[in-house]
Symmetry: C2
Subunit: 444 residues, 2 copies
Amino acid sequence: MATPEVDVVVIGGGLAGLMAARALSASGRSVRVLEARDRVGGRTWTRTAASGVPIDFGGQWIGPSQERVTALAAELGIETFPTYAAGSTQYSILETSQVERADARAAMDELDRMAAQVPVEAPWEADEASAWDGQTLQSWLLGRSLDDVSRELLRVLMTGLFTMEPEELSLLHVITYIRSAGSLHQLIKVAQENRLTGGAQTLSLRMADELGPDVVRLASPATAIAQDDSCVRVTTDSEVITARRAIVAVPIVLTDRISFEPPLPAARVQLIQRFATGAAVKVHCVYPDAFWRDNGWNGRSLTGSGYVSVTFDNSPPDGSKGVLVGFIEADKARQFIGLSDTDRRDAVVARFVELFGERAADPDEYLEFEWSEEEWTRGCYSANLAPGGWTRYGPALRRSTGRVHWAGSETSTVWMGYMEGALRSGERAAEEVGLALDGASGRE
Amino acid sequence: MATPEVDVVVIGGGLAGLMAARALSASGRSVRVLEARDRVGGRTWTRTAASGVPIDFGGQWIGPSQERVTALAAELGIETFPTYAAGSTQYSILETSQVERADARAAMDELDRMAAQVPVEAPWEADEASAWDGQTLQSWLLGRSLDDVSRELLRVLMTGLFTMEPEELSLLHVITYIRSAGSLHQLIKVAQENRLTGGAQTLSLRMADELGPDVVRLASPATAIAQDDSCVRVTTDSEVITARRAIVAVPIVLTDRISFEPPLPAARVQLIQRFATGAAVKVHCVYPDAFWRDNGWNGRSLTGSGYVSVTFDNSPPDGSKGVLVGFIEADKARQFIGLSDTDRRDAVVARFVELFGERAADPDEYLEFEWSEEEWTRGCYSANLAPGGWTRYGPALRRSTGRVHWAGSETSTVWMGYMEGALRSGERAAEEVGLALDGASGRE
């Protein structure tokens, strides 16, 4: 092959890929980032509503234990602000009677207890890995004594975290994911604490700006990656780039969109086949003001009835507009997608009225986004590994394939599936590549 | 777009694609078949051993209830012959004591009973679909009282059928698959009754010969399929073909290798993500003669110990050589793949010696094949739908996407995963396309 043009080609301009490129660039490596879309940010995407309010269609929250994303925001000069929380939650099945919560609380404690036993670098080595991976979360739930409210609560929480129903999820995957965040408490209470001024995509936009347009190439999907003993060659519709190493930082379910030469090893191929994304729709209503605050409500709700299972106050920090965000997940998302545009809007607004009164009835704007039809995402929030997958194919998750290294939030051992996990995966892949290039400096 | 060059482009030159092309061609439609490899046949592939014996690396058996494949073989002038069965099975855990078999038999009867309740055209409509789809086969097995031998027997049988472990399988998928074949008895006892003279690939080779090289293009992977209101445009590395309709007849896990414009709908994308292939290695030893027959043995075995779980006499019909075939599946296949070439051969030969005596120690040839590293297959025998998948995404399985229709053995309601299923799926897709072309004849 030809002489490498750059040290490293990164495929994917989401948080993982840009973080990898940023780290490599900072250590003096020459980098190229190939992004399929005409924008960076991957599963973070901030659109500006007609009223001028930035609306995050994808990931949006960061929590205090998420060190990398917090540090990166500070480095890039992006301010953060607390998610509005003053006042009471409008309705939450978490806050039904103590008696009813007891069963759910016990189940959540047990999930946390199991999670604490999972070696997060190698979940397949947990003592009970095989038993946990061989059953669905639903089988585990059915094996417990749970009253109806607790059962509903757990379903709402779990579909909220995984955008899949308990019937679809491996118990080992669930507790590995919990472990990577620390605990269920971290996932449910801490992960939503803060927001990023200007929206979450700003992280990627700023990183891309720093790298510059010569480095970050938009609308350049990689179609093929070939490698031999000396280099890697990445093909797009318009060019072929040779490099010493490649980092693939696309959603793991999209890996097959790239043709590999030599073909990927069986373990990686079959690992990829066992990942699937969930279904989720994020809906927003923009109002002239955050009227619910007048009633002492914080805009939050958590319920099993209706399409929208969770709401938050998503207003801009200056309070110039009132924004409610709602999440529709898993089976409900699949049903919701089947409705007409009008019916979807009407269902959401009606629910907001039920929760927050008549002033919710006439939003200035209704915005929704569903990721599974997005060609370069194919589902949200993150991908889950099917029953039996972690114990059989987990060891292939971060294992590099010759000169090709793997990043993406799903490969992170900390806050897997979150922006934090994406950044950490990019750092880890950059470190791997750095070591490889250093070690081989004589030859390469 | 340009005027269609042909009525129908078929992507994939396996049994499904060729059958579709044959049916369409017979009804006067112009057809093009694009096959990625330099051969037709897909998961049927017959190589000639050094001794001249044809060896099937992929699918090889047909059973008396498999009407389409039996009829096609007759039409194409391919003779069939019975799998050698005279004499005794060398060892089978099916034939351990009655007491030990009772638990296994009861479990198999129960699976058959459940299978009979599955509407095979719409498994998601079974009364207990949600409960069955929400658990793994392993959870179901653990819920039964089973002695150790029965448990081992069921694992060997199920990994033999699905090339996945019970921990990986949806119970609803298992019984849907059973239902599509009729019963477990059909799968275990009937499906292996006959073989095809010259090997199973002969079916595809003859169909391709009849269609001719102008129709069947080898080494032509489709990279993109675009469609609009008037036609479909299929791109390969060397050409762009316009047609009225397309049939995609590639293994369902390979769908993402093709770029679709417009992108595929969410339901199909997420359906595909939920399919995964199993792991299987097929091993052959070729001997100067079928020496085991001298001892009154039929060459068969079924056991849970060692890598090889099942063996059969795979000698050619004229008895000119003796061939033993063995199957290594699921977890054992994954372990086996990790051994060195020598260790793999030694392990197989040692097992054959244990089963059939010292004369098995020195085969003229040892041949093995593992499909998961095959770029255009990615695992065998067929793909299984993960827990929760049938009930959520099953309706998308055969639903055409505009001018693109879907074939492949996984889409068949009869003998799903078998050569019979592949042929039926091709017929069904051809029928769909024929109706669409007739119905639209005024316009198209």
